[in-house]
């Protein structure tokens, strides 16, 4: 009896899980499909056609927004790595009384509604006179991403023991040489994953961009948001799918790096 009931539960739970995954992915599939809808009305399927992709990429406003998004995401990723990597290393290797409060601030930053952070940025960046559109976007996006990079690097550094570094020091390597030749290569997968994630988050960001942007430096998501008002055509779906493609490449690369890096590190150090 018990086994029968267990089997029923199993089937029910697994079916529910499968349904939930369908629910999560169906909308994404719908957008991708409808971006190839040749008709004038996005919602009414008429015929398959990749025309909207060509038209979207012919639109100079789309191309300039795309460039703004890419540049801001790059500067943001550079800031996030430059500040997040040392912080993450220190969180794992130089623990002390400071770690608790620092982590508390980090989680407050991750948990604050983006809208609140965005209003603060808007007020403050105006007050300190930072009017460069790209820098405003990059600084605004970097706050969240520093926290993300620090957490990834911390997780990776905690998984590694410092025996290799100690061995290098015992063999006479100077601290900087140990750092360059041992620590950095070991941390590389986490750093690269951090770059890709912070790039992706910045590239997709809407709320902070909406508040800190200056005339002339609209990002792609802001362009998409603004084109909702005049009515939707296939070109918006095409742009959305292009951003999806770019984000997916970043995400998949980051995931591959993290998974592969973990396997190697554990395999290499535990054997």
């Amino acid at each position: 009896m018990a086994r029968e009931r267990g089997k029923g539960t199993r089937v029910a739970l697994l079916s529910w899980t499968a349904l939930t995954f369908v629910f999560l992915f169906l909308p994404i599939l719908v957008v991708v499909t409808y971006s190839f809808n040749g008709g004038r009305n996005l919602y009414v399927w008429t015929e398959f056609s990749p025309d909207w992709y060509g038209r979207a990429l012919d639109n100079p406003r789309v191309v300039s927004a795309l460039m703004v998004s890419l540049k801001a995401a790059l500067i943001n990723a550079a800031i996030a790595v430059a500040l997040g990597v040392p912080a993450g290393m220190a969180l794992a290797r130089r623990k002390g009384a400071w770690t608790g409060p620092f982590l508390a601030l980090l989680f407050v930053i991750l948990g604050t509604p983006e809208l609140v952070s965005a209003i603060g940025q808007m007020i403050w960046l105006d007050r300190i006179g930072l009017y460069d559109g790209l820098l405003r976007l990059a600084v605004g996006h970097s706050l969240f991403n520093i926290a993300v990079v620090a957490l990834i690097v911390r997780a990776r550094a905690e998984g590694l023991s410092d025996t290799l570094e100690e061995a290098a020091a015992d063999l006479g390597a100077r601290p900087w040489r140990t750092f360059l030749e041992i620590t950095l290569p070991l941390m590389a997968p986490a750093v690269l994953a951090g770059v890709l994630l912070s790039f992706t988050f910045s590239f997709d960001d809407v709320i902070i961009s909406l508040f800190v942007q200056r005339p002339g430096t609209s990002t792609l998501p802001i362009y998409i948001l603004s084109s909702f008002k005049p009515g939707l055509k296939g070109d918006v779906a095409a742009i959305v799918v292009i951003t999806l493609g770019l984000s997916l490449i970043g995400m998949l690369a980051a995931a591959t790096l993290l998974l592969r890096g973990r396997g190697k590190a554990l395999g290499g150090l535990l054997d």
């Binding site: 529910w16 105006d126 997709d204």
Partner: protein, 294 residues
């Protein structure tokens, strides 16, 4: 050589300074601006010469209170739905899915979450469109007599919120369930507890912190959401986020928007404290109840 003498936290100092300058200080300015006065119609800056609570009086307007109530209700119902839908999924992932599939499925789970917010809200506009495929299908089946009219309403926002935050609820619950030693469940069964009782007396209390974490995260982010109501809600599906954004971006009334944001943060802070108290109380009560139960 000098490396030895530096404090242990020195590598984290640049990040700390950056956050202090670009996060802590700006968020504090919101509170100050909420007491200021909006610039004259011609433009200019917010004046902080005379500080007053007048903006908070405006916040108690009928429209704001109604939208605030709708926001809290939408976020709370959305969170509840996320837990009801998500808990079985997290449970299945932790207990029933073969271990080698797990990393892949977890990755698939967070994948939609890490793609664009806009994309996910946008998709529902296509699906729910009155002249769209779903509407036509439902009418052909005779389930609907008029075109589907969910878009630009609170119902569409509710759906979008559930869709958006479901992965975020599932993950912490999965982590909590995954950490529970399966031996505990077997021990309870060996001691004569049925599956239902084992679930209620062992699994659920141990998973409680994870559930609370998921609930809190979902509720906070849903209550502060701007994108979903902006795209799916129209004029009838407004949430506080849209009201704040309209005050600041369209009406140029930064002080009023700041006051609304302060009220929002205050209420969310209260929710966090309330949830923590609830977890502590529940845990205490369960500990009392569990002792003699098994």
């Amino acid at each position: 050589m000098s490396r030895r003498r530096m404090p242990r936290w020195s590598p984290a100092a640049p990040a700390l300074l950056w956050w202090g300058f670009f996060f802590v200080v700006p968020v504090a300015w919101i509170a100050l601006y909420s007491l200021g006065q909006k610039p004259p119609p011609g433009g200019g800056a917010v004046t902080l010469d005379v500080l007053s609570g007048a903006n908070y009086v405006a916040v108690t307007s009928e429209l704001f209170l109604r939208v605030f109530w709708v926001t809290l209700r939408t976020a709370a119902l959305g969170t509840l739905a996320c837990v009801l839908v998500g808990f079985p999924v997290a449970y299945a992932l932790a207990r029933y899915v073969p271990e080698r599939w797990r990393p892949g499925l977890l990755f698939l789970l967070v994948l939609p979450y890490w793609t664009s917010f806009l994309l996910r809200a946008f998709a529902w506009r296509i699906i729910l469109a009155p002249e769209g495929a779903l509407s036509d299908t439902l009418r052909a089946l005779g389930l609907l007599s008029a075109p589907l009219s969910l878009l630009d309403s609170n119902a569409a926002v509710q759906l979008g919120i559930i869709y958006n935050y479901l992965p975020l609820t599932i993950l912490p619950i999965f982590v909590a369930l995954d950490r529970i030693d399966p031996a505990l469940g077997r021990a309870a069964m060996d001691l004569g507890a049925g599956p239902v009782r084992t679930f209620l007396a062992v699994t659920l209390p141990l998973a409680a912190p994870g559930i609370a974490g998921g609930v809190l995260l979902t509720f906070i982010l849903a209550a502060g959401d701007y994108v979903v109501p902006a795209i799916l809600g129209g004029a009838k599906g407004l949430m506080v986020g849209n009201l704040v954004a309209t005050q600041i971006l369209a009406s140029q009334n930064l002080p009023a928007g700041a006051a609304m944001a302060v009220v929002l943060i205050g209420l969310l802070g209260l929710a966090v404290l309330g949830a923590q108290a609830a977890v502590l109380l529940t845990r205490g009560a369960l500990r009392l109840a569990r002792g003699p139960a098994l």
